[in-house]
Amino acid sequence: MTPGLRIDSLSLSIRGEDGLTPILDRVSLQVGRGEVQGLAGESGSGKTITGLTVIGLEPPRAEVTGRIWLDGEDLMAITGRSLNAIRGRRVGMVFQDPTTSLHPQLTVGAQLTDHVRYHLGVSRAEALERAQTALDRVGVAGGRETLRRYPHEFSGGQRQRIAIAIALACEPAVLIADEPTTALDVTVQAGVLALIRSLVDSLGLAVLFITHDLGVMSAVADRVAIMRRGRIVENGERAQVFTAPAHPYTRELLASLPGATGGLRSRADLAGIDPFGSGDPTGDPTGDRPADAALVRDRPADDDLAGRESTGDGREEAADA
């Protein structure tokens, strides 16, 4: 068995009035213990839905194929209520905005102990003990008193730390973190990134880290997968992806970013981009999608999404978003 999370050729389509809309196309990823696998992409690329599908939260009317393995166990074979034994227990999840992912009317203590008691069947006293440990682990001070407070009494960064504590309270093997620092200020983000990295190293956690922010990705991920239109176009070691990107889309994405290798390093580099081109979130500066052409050329076998590609007029991402 492979420890950690393995996603094998995951495809997902949504059934609508005019047939199936492909959303994910043969996504394969592997996240080992003690490793952060980054999943980066722009809005509508399918990165969030990949994370949700792992814990069985794909949208209704979705048709899913492929395999998802958790510590060698086939998650796709598990359905319905049995998934509850996985979600929150063996796979933890942290979302972008702790003001909406935390319940505003329940104390932090209630939110930290509820699922622990459900999953682990421990007593209230032991659950509180574990809650305390979980809070200490994420660096939220205040002891027992903290457990009696409500989410609004904490700052944004502390709230996200609490959300991480909740996700880790049952000591899951895998953590799916979907844009966990996007809603935070950069100075606060720095602390949360350091926390996630230290938890990975100390607990041997396998983290699927989803973000659109390649700066964040560069700071925290060991491996980086670049996703575009439901497909992983490149996946490799962090340093390789950032300094020697193999796929034209990755290169164009990096070229559009301040501070990236081959990106916008100074004001003079702005002269190299055409601000008037309509090329929107595709990383293609001319607007006529050479990245797409390259994608198809590079991967002749990938033509079966031709219907989707041909409708591509720069607005598909908007429709997905």
């Binding site: 200020d185 559009s256 301040p258 601000p275 908007a318």
Partner: protein, 293 residues
């Protein structure tokens, strides 16, 4: 150099207090000048007061103290009526074009609103009036082309554009009013990363070519740095550092600016975690002002 000319905007000791228990002092004595044709980046993190500054400049918030002048005239806070015509020379692009554009009107007529403002201002303003729009008369189609869209897109509704394209429409709408002050309040924060630098560059290029000053408000220093001539760094309602962009970027003087710059993760693949700030006690240090070159 700009300092020899009269500023378009002159703000002195602005204080803004939001009511509450206790009241929030959102802006605590902020002063700055904005000059024709420059791009000024106003940066800082959430709650530092940067958006409140934008609201003061557009008359949406009445300052509790201090004075804000636009071409030497005090900015009148917005009441129940529309803004005085003169002040429509100050235009704004908001963070989320999905909510700042009217979803039920095609974009053409929305841009035309801006054009009509410019026409009315031109008719009303006497010759030699500093706020009088000077540009040639355009139509919505011209404006769409100027922001990289097609003239034929006029009949489309905002919902049919992507986020980046919608922000281009919002920029066209604001610039069609021929402002000489364009304020962008986090105009690129809701956009995909690859689009951000492009839209920021577009805004600055168009604003400057129109002779306007662009006040670009953002929490994202890495993009602002590329387009701004000057930076104003805000923390906790005060400007803690100001000066030419490269001076602030390469030689930050205030403890907060240093922390802010150190916390930006670079997409360089080095695997460096950004520095975690030790605390905020040092941020009360006096402001650092870099001289104009």
């Amino acid at each position: 150099m700009p300092s020899e000319r009269a500023p378009v905007i002159r703000a002195r000791d602005i204080e803004v207090v939001y009511p509450g228990h206790p009241p929030v002092r959102a802006v605590r004595g902020v002063s700055f000048d904005l000059f024709k044709g420059e791009v000024v980046g106003l940066v800082g993190e959430s709650g530092c007061g940067k958006s409140t500054i934008a609201k003061v400049l557009t008359g949406l918030v009445r300052p509790a103290g201090g004075a804000v002048e636009y071409h030497g005239q005090p900015i009148r806070p917005l009441g129940v009526r529309r803004r005085p015509l003169f002040q429509t020379g100050i235009q704004m692009v908001f963070q989320d074009p999905g909510s700042s554009l009217n979803p039920r009107r095609p974009v053409g007529p929305q841009i035309r609103d801006g054009l009509e403002l410019a026409l009315r201002r031109r008719r009303q303003a006497g010759p030699g009036d500093p706020a009088q729009p000077a540009g040639p008369t355009a139509n919505p189609g011209d404006w769409l082309e100027r922001v990289g869209l097609a003239a034929g897109d006029q009949t489309r509704y905002p919902g049919s554009f992507s986020g980046g394209q919608r922000q281009r429409v919002a920029t066209a709408r604001a610039l069609a009013a021929e402002p000489d002050v364009l304020i962008g309040d986090e105009p690129i924060s809701a956009l995909d990363a690859s689009t951000q630098a492009k839209v920021a560059y577009l805004m600055s290029k168009l604003a400057v070519s129109q002779g306007a000053v662009l006040l670009f408000i953002s929490h994202d220093l890495s993009v602002v740095r590329l387009i701004a001539d000057r930076l104003l760094v805000m923390w906790s309602g005060r400007i803690v550092e100001s000066g030419p962009t490269e001076a602030v970027w390469s030689n930050p003087g205030h403890p907060y600016t240093k922390v802010l710059l150190g916390a930006i993760p670079a997409p360089d693949g080095a695997g460096r975690l950004p520095a975690v700030p030790a605390g905020t006690a040092a941020f009360d240090a006096p402001p650092v002002i870099h001289d104009d070159p």
